[in-house]
Amino acid sequence: MIYLDNAATTAVKPEVLEAMMPYFMENYSNPNSVYSFAQESHKVVDDARDTIAELLHAKGNEIYFTGGGSESDNWALKAAADAFSSKGKHIITSKIEHHAILHTCEFLEKHGFEVTYLDVDANGLVSPESLKTAIRPDTILVSIMFANNEIGTIEPIKELGAIAHEAGALFHTDAVQAFAHVPIDVQDMNIDMLSASGHKFHGPKGVGFLYLSNKVKIGSFVHGGAQERGRRAGTTNVPGVVGMAKAAKLAHENMEENIKKQIAVRNHLIDRISQEIPYAKLNGDPEKRLPNNVNFCFRFVEGESVLIMLDQKGICASSGSACTSGSLDPSHVLLAIGLPHEIAHGSIRMTISEETTMEDADYTVDSMKAIIDRLRSMSPLYEDFVKENK
């Protein structure tokens, strides 16, 4: 099997699972308990917090563990809106955010907030100018994703954050696809809040974190017990946070090398597909792009049938975001970068990992060529196109 859906989720690394194992059956203690049995779990949770903080150039007490990226996004947006509603009710985000941001914004709109959804250019970039134009005295929050989950475009976070701060607004970034994939420095990059999710970087599912700068005073999202310094209730998922921190650490230890390796494979895929498959268009920015992301639209064919045929060749890929499968509308991201519906329907995302080899890439392109050929021969759109251009 060639797994090219690492943006949907990743395999837990052996070292990560190993780090988690002692905390299921052996030291299963609740880290907040008084007895000495709980000392170790307390310590490893603290260590996990410090590990992650260091990687972001943050402080340990600025990292709050959550149940995943979606929860972190919901928390950041809803609690910030709640905390600053007396100052203003305007929020700015982009049209290509993940649904965890967009649907949260819709919820906030129903509760009296006004949300501006910034357009992006054909490569999926949010322009700092458009933010400058949209920002207002009553803008309390700007939330722009660090990197897009479908087309891999990396946004100019540092500049966007600076603009938000100049206007006195908080700056949040959904870094679920970026953290542990590219270097992030929350201080240098003007980030007040940052969301991440363990399973996107070979950590476990069901655990994530929110970086919350100590300067930001917002309330809780999950109310209850005093865990996470009173800001996120719920018995700490000890194996989860230990695994996530381990995965983050591993990713950063080899980050430079991994990025290089992945970019080579990624570019090989992009180059061969561009050259060998006609009417294929790369989506997302060719340069400002996640090292692991390849996304093409293949005209005249529909994504799902491509996916099934790839699957029959042992290749796992996706068409748009995994969580939108089941929906009939093509991805909002592809529409936002200006693709017509019928072209957007033919999008295929291949997200590699450091394990993906050049051979995997070649096999994938060879398979893809045959599949696209076959499906086009069955496509009424292709038939019409050929007739029109005869």
Partner: protein, 144 residues
């Protein structure tokens, strides 16, 4: 997610292709909603039996499989009998479809109807129970 029959008809679709000078041809669906089906019919002038049926489809696995199954089901039937090939008949023949994919079988039914309508119009006959199909590819421009 798909039944074995669906996977079989997707992987080895029956009757893919075009018919030169077809008795009737119909295209339904639109690229906006994601699926387009085109059906070609070769109909015996006297017996009104569908000798040949071919399709081309732009769409998901279910769209391809329902097209394929629909062509199998109408082949050999008269144009009057072909009306009985409903979306339910297609689905049943495929051992069912996921709920979100039921619309594909409706499209297959519509595609047959559209091809039959084309035949009926060209030959100035009426097929009892057949209504002019609505969802055709032309809608796309109107809606967009």
């Amino acid at each position: 997610m798909y039944s074995e029959k669906v996977m079989d008809h997707f992987s080895n679709p029956r009757n893919v292709g075009e018919i030169e000078n077809p008795s009737g041809v119909g295209t339904v669906g639109n690229a906006k909603c994601g699926d387009i089906m085109r059906m070609y019919l070769d109909i015996d002038e006297d017996t009104k039996i569908i000798n040949e049926c071919k399709f081309k489809t732009f769409g998901c696995g279910a769209a391809v499989a329902t097209s394929s199954m629909a062509t199998e089901l109408v082949k050999g039937k008269t144009i009057y009998e072909a009306l009985e090939v409903t979306n339910k008949a297609v689905m049943d023949a495929l051992d069912g479809l996921p709920a979100v994919k039921v619309h594909c079988s409706l499209l297959a039914e519509e595609a047959i109807h559209a091809a039959l309508w084309d035949y009926a119009e060209k030959h100035h006959i009426e097929i009892p129970g057949l209504k002019k199909p609505k969802n055709d590819i032309g809608d796309e421009e109107e809606e967009a």
